[in-house]
Point group: C2
Chain length 304, copies 2
């Protein structure tokens, strides 16, 4: 097992160039530094230093190790800081969140704002990412929370070392341009829209599948999906300007975007679930962020 204090020694030698300087900087004698570095070489199983003139230089193995040393020493500092903060009663640390677009806008963003007041020592880092991309990074500890979605009847497999938590259940609505003849109706029969061009996400996505299935099973027609983009805001804009229709979750139309109307299905309909994924072991800090996301999701869900 490589010892951290010895790694700190190695880093200091790397930075200062001589054992004497490193020894002085850390309050040791050169003798101690020399001996400890010998031990480190035994631990690492490779020579780390080579003498050049009367100075000393790191070997390749030494350079490799010193890079890791930097990361590790930074890591223990972060650990100590977080423990100190947590034991002082406040939550702290970095939590990395990934979310798909609409959840990012309507759930993650308000959560960040709320947590900034509630737990100022928590630093939330957020990225837009689809679930498929996020899950491997979650398992590699590069993300802490992934916000994903799942349409009715399209259950996703979940990895056993991950934990899933429902943030929001919502209905899919039919979105039409404000000027459409049926826009005034309170509810809309999908079958009446068989001739409409549609805007949906790219083929292969859950949304595209849901769109096809809904039109076939509820509407009884094969939809003319003419515009595709994975950006829901683009889909909304296509509806507004081109006269196409779209099937969008409440979360997206919750903006009440101008120029379009959102109406529920006259019968049946489709649901969507927004969920949070984390590793099974949650720190209190991650838990606080998860709690914040659940609250924000509840607030984002429009009353129906």
């Amino acid at each position: 097992m490589i010892d951290l204090r010895r790694l700190r020694l190695l880093r200091e030698v790397h930075v200062r160039g001589t054992l004497h300087a490193a020894a002085e900087a850390l309050g040791y004698t050169p003798s101690a530094v020399s001996q400890q570095l010998s031990v480190l070489e035994r631990e690492a199983g490779a020579p780390l230093l080579e003498r050049v003139g009367r100075k000393v230089r790191l070997t390749e193995a030494g350079q490799v190790l010193v890079v890791h040393a930097d990361a590790l020493l930074e890591g223990v500092d972060a650990a100590a800081a977080e423990v100190a903060a947590v034991s002082a009663g406040r939550l702290a640390g970095v939590v990395r969140v990934a979310a798909f677009q609409s959840a990012f806008l309507r759930i993650v963003a308000p959560t960040v704002a709320a947590l900034a007041e509630q737990h100022p020592a928590i630093r939330v880092e957020a990225t837009e990412r689809e679930v498929e991309q996020g899950v491997p990074e979650l398992r590699l500890h590069r993300l802490d929370v992934v916000v994903g979605d799942e349409y009715e009847d399209q259950p996703r497999a979940i990895h056993p070392e991950l934990q899933r938590e429902v943030a929001l259940r919502e209905r899919i609505t039919i979105v039409l341009p404000a000027g459409h003849p049926l826009a005034a109706a309170r509810r809309i029969r999908l079958a009446d829209l068989a001739d409409l061009p549609w805007a949906a996400c790219q083929p292969g996505t859950g949304h595209h599948e849901m769109h096809l299935r809904a039109c076939r099973q509820i509407g009884g027609f094969e939809p003319d999906i003419r515009y595709t983009s994975d950006d829901f805001l683009i889909l909304l804009e296509m509806v507004r300007t081109t006269g196409a229709g779209a099937l969008l979750p409440d979360l997206v139309v919750g903006f009440d975007p101008p120029g379009v109307v959102a109406r529920p299905f006259a019968s049946g309909g489709v649901g969507r679930e927004v969920f949070l994924l984390t590793r099974r072991s949650r720190t209190p800090t991650v838990q606080a962020v998860v709690d914040g996301l659940v609250v924000a999701a509840g607030a984002a869900a429009p009353a129906r």
Copy 2:
């Protein structure tokens, strides 16, 4: 300074639930474990364990610390493994590379293939990302190499702790649909294309700026940029199908895509530089990847 062996003890206690089991697993007596954990609590400045019945459980601070412990212990293992590999003469370790689209396709992908043979113990992880997004992650040690581009007369500022290396200098060519009247010419005067619609990257990008500047200064006209996308392959497709023109780097048209022709400027012209960014301290492993990228960039540059 928190000691790693004590962290390993803590983790073992967390996993196994009792000091005895942890002691047995690691070859200590329960007495030693108890004493060392007391020391760890002093080091961490917070109680980490609480007795529940005759077993023991981690406090909040303990749980926080054990998460960091996992990451740190994994880190030392990775460090030891990489040092062992390097000192055995072969390069090893994970190198994370980010590149913009065309560099990803034409430089990073071939590099990955070449390195897989040359240094099988190097694991290259690649992501598509623009320079602006990549630089902060580079500084946070979440990326090791960023491949970026820079158009003539638009120098980017570079952070002092980063190192920049030119991979490729190339010329911008005028790309026209194969059926265009001027497609047969060997060289093309930009001024002759004043009435053409154009496809370019989004406003605000270096490419868009370059496009405007070239048309104004070399062609003497204000271009009608009708189609914008940051995806060069989409731009090419727009040229092929809609009859628009584009100003694209050799790297993009090096594909010799069907249905379009690429011609140099009749006079003057614009250059682009593809460069690599790394932190100043490169391990031999990172250096090997950088070398591989430079070679691949050279191979990707079409002869002129």
